[in-house]
């Protein structure tokens, strides 16, 4: 076992997620594993440039982390127990307390404003607001011909006993939990959903990744590059398997586009060499041919760059 607690990787439908931001930070800063952030950021939800949790890991990253005993796999569907009444009650009371706290704060603020309206906002603004309120009440009393309605809302907002009713008017913040860790009936440390070995998950069918020679070659090459200190990202947009970065991709450009060859004698068409060289040069990268030798368990590298003679 590693010195620290292993990082839980949440497995669901043969994909590994990381939901805890601290875990994401550890993976990135300590272990050089970046993954891909792919969830909608709650307050910037109409754009695709910046995305948030979950972090989705490449299968190679998962295999690397588990083999290095940095992380363990959690079978997420099995980690949820049926919430007991006690758990549910405690969750609900916690939420209700938070809501009531918010409401009482809002009410206090409101009351304070009513008592000393000049303090909260500037004189000009408060005067304008008072005028507006007066106009509104006058308008309402004119239309309803009674003037009872504004008074009823006024009283209900002030009486703390009727908080649930006035909550519709006051409004409070609802928190949607992101990670399951916050739910008391989520037990990821349970024996039957923690896996430390890839063989076990494969037997169970919840994680099957390196199952072909090509996938094994991918894992080995990923591991070799990572052990050399490179950061690695997905290279599908550059015509290869990986992008190889000299440092954190947040700050540095990648130097290589790597393509995986499962055998040192696998066929390589000249057209591929041209295409790789062309694309790599156009994007200021060298293409890296990575050959995996399954017998000697070694990786050999060959880089292609445009010669640039005229």
């Amino acid at each position: 076992m590693a010195a620290h607690d292993p990082i839980p990787l949440i497995l669901a439908q043969n994909t590994a997620f990381v939901w805890d931001v601290d875990d994401i930070a550890t993976l990135r800063t300590k272990h050089g594993i970046c993954g891909v952030l792919s969830g909608t950021l709650p307050h910037l939800s109409q754009q695709n440039v910046f995305l948030g949790v979950p972090l989705i890991l490449m299968p190679e990253e998962v295999v690397y982390l588990v083999q290095k005993e940095i992380a363990v796999l959690i079978d997420d569907p099995a980690a949820y127990s049926t919430p007991s009444n006690f758990d549910l009650t405690s969750w609900i009371t916690a939420q209700e307390e938070s809501v009531e706290h918010q409401l009482s704060i809002a009410q206090m603020k409101e009351r304070k404003e009513r008592l000393a309206p000049g303090r909260a906002m500037s004189e000009e603004a408060s005067r304008k607001r008072r005028e507006r309120e007066e106009r509104n009440t006058r308008a309402i009393s004119e239309t309803t011909n009674g003037g009872t309605e504004p008074r009823s809302t006024f009283t209900s907002a002030l009486s703390p006993a009727q908080a649930p009713i006035s909550s519709a008017a006051a409004g409070y913040t609802v928190l949607i939990p992101t990670e399951s860790n916050k739910l008391p009936w989520y037990q990821p440390s349970n024996e039957r959903c923690v896996y430390t070995l890839l063989a076990d998950t494969k037997k169970k069918g919840i994680w099957t990744f390196p199952s072909t020679l090509h996938e094994c070659a991918r894992c080995s090459i990923f591991r070799d590059l990572r052990e050399k200190g490179y950061y690695i990202g997905g290279g599908i947009k550059f015509g290869g398997e990986y992008l190889v970065y000299p440092g954190d991709p947040l700050r540095y450009h990648s130097h290589f586009v790597a393509s995986v060859h499962e055998s040192p004698v696998s066929t390589l068409h000249p057209m591929e060499v041209v295409a790789h060289g062309r694309l790599g040069t156009a994007t200021k990268k060298a293409h890296l041919l990575c050959g995996w030798d399954d017998e000697t368990k070694e990786v050999s590298y060959l880089s292609i760059e445009w010669g640039g003679f005229g």
């Binding site: 931001v21 994401i24 307050h43 910037l44 939800s45 440039v49 949607i176 947009k237 440092g247 994007t283």
Partner: protein, 560 residues
Amino acid sequence: MDDDLEQPTAVATESQSYTRLDTGIGVEVRIDKGHQDEADAEGEAEDGGLDWTKLLPASARPIIPKRGEKEFEPRFSSLHHSTSDVPAPTGQGSSLQQQILHLSRTAMFDAIRAPRTISSKLVSYGMWYPELGRTHVTVSRGVHFATMGHSAPRPVQNDMITAAAEGTKTAPDSASEKLQKRLELLPEETIYLVERGSMLCYKSPSVTNATPPLTSIYLGNIPGAPMSVQQVYTECISRSGLTLEKYQVYAYLKRLGYTVTRAEAPDPYYHLPTPYKPTSTIVESPSPSEQAPPSLLWRLTHHLHHLLSKLLSILPSFHLLPPRLSPSPTFDWWHPLPTHPHPPQSYASIFAALRNIIPSGHKVPLHTPPSQKTDNTPATTPYRIFYNVYKPNTPFRKTTPGKPDFQVVVVNARTTPMPTLYELTDLFDQVPEVPPPAPRKRGMTTAASSTNKSLGQGQGQQQKENKEGTAKSSSAPVAQQEQTRSVSENTRLWLSWLRWPFSFLFSSPTSTQTGQKNPKPNPFPVLKMGKKIIIIAAVDSGNISFFRFGQGSFEEWPMI
């Protein structure tokens, strides 16, 4: 023109300085323009130098910041050199670089740590039924439900929910039989709404406890276990044909504002646009009431059509006839090409005749080798249209969705090879033809609607134009232009007056009229766009690439 390129000073290193917002430390970053030319910028746009520092502070949230700058590589610090003989391929970088990296990382982690909070006045509530694969929306708020969710009649087993949500009391004994329409969300819609922090979703209790369910009036009053975003992911993906890749494409398009619906109805209550019928021309059959899933009958006819066309393609080979040719009685097989008394023929006419004999274009059925005769495609292929996509800001009605703007196939880039010709052809058979791109506005060109003119017409027109071109090469406007260059305005007027009575000599009125009314449109935009378009989204563990496949109609645009 390109002054920037000519002057050497423009290429010289140009230091750009920008300060970090939240620290107050002025950081000057020198960017060597030698490393950052425009090709680099284009390539790295995908590679993404994300500057998370610009996301903060939280008070300025809704502003979408620009991508930041990246550096070439971490510099080797002297400390690193002294400790190891061989310099590591990746140094830690200078302390300045480390500082910036640290700031970027902290900003990023802070930004993604933001909790999902929403005002109680805006939040929606839902109940996820795992056995059904749907979320019942009990409280729907916000604009999302104009384009998401569909109503489905369900037997009201658990009348508590509806009663609690609507605040009414229904008789519990009669409720078990009743069907009630309710708003339901598909799995991807559920995840999307929960993930963007717009809905609090509960999980329906699998075993109905005898104890009264616990609810909270503050939180939607729903008896069930609240689900985290993580649990919603775990529960909803792999339900109703959804995969993680498909969800990612869905969320990507939704975040951009597109309206995304399923292309195949996941249940009989889901409304689809009127299916495109490949055999006939697009006939709007106004029957929104019979919303039967189009697949079965349509696929049967589709198969029949295929079989027939295959049979036809085999049969004529016995007679040495090319397929799909209806030999006119005057057609002479010994002289397939039109022979004129005078031997010199133009290439154009020969090619035109050849085009009549040799079938071409996508209407000709694909040749299927006998080994592949068994229909291999529709059941197993990953290339099936999954989403209908509508552009933002177009009127959309959930009950009668119109013709989609795009149709998207989602595949896993790791496991799926490129589509075969058969798979592509099958896809194109399911999509309607798109109108040709509007011609670029230049002068008085009118919108050319001549893409579906038949081959013979196009050829004929072209020939006519050629003839006219050669006969009257020096037409009036050209001559006029030539003259105006040399002579002054006065004489030009004079000349035009002079020429007026003889204008029929200079130009035939018919040719100019046809030339102006129906100019031959530029074929290349049309060819480039194709007549049918399909979008294929390839997803590789979080990276989405959209590819557009167009079926070019080269047979309709003969170049000669």
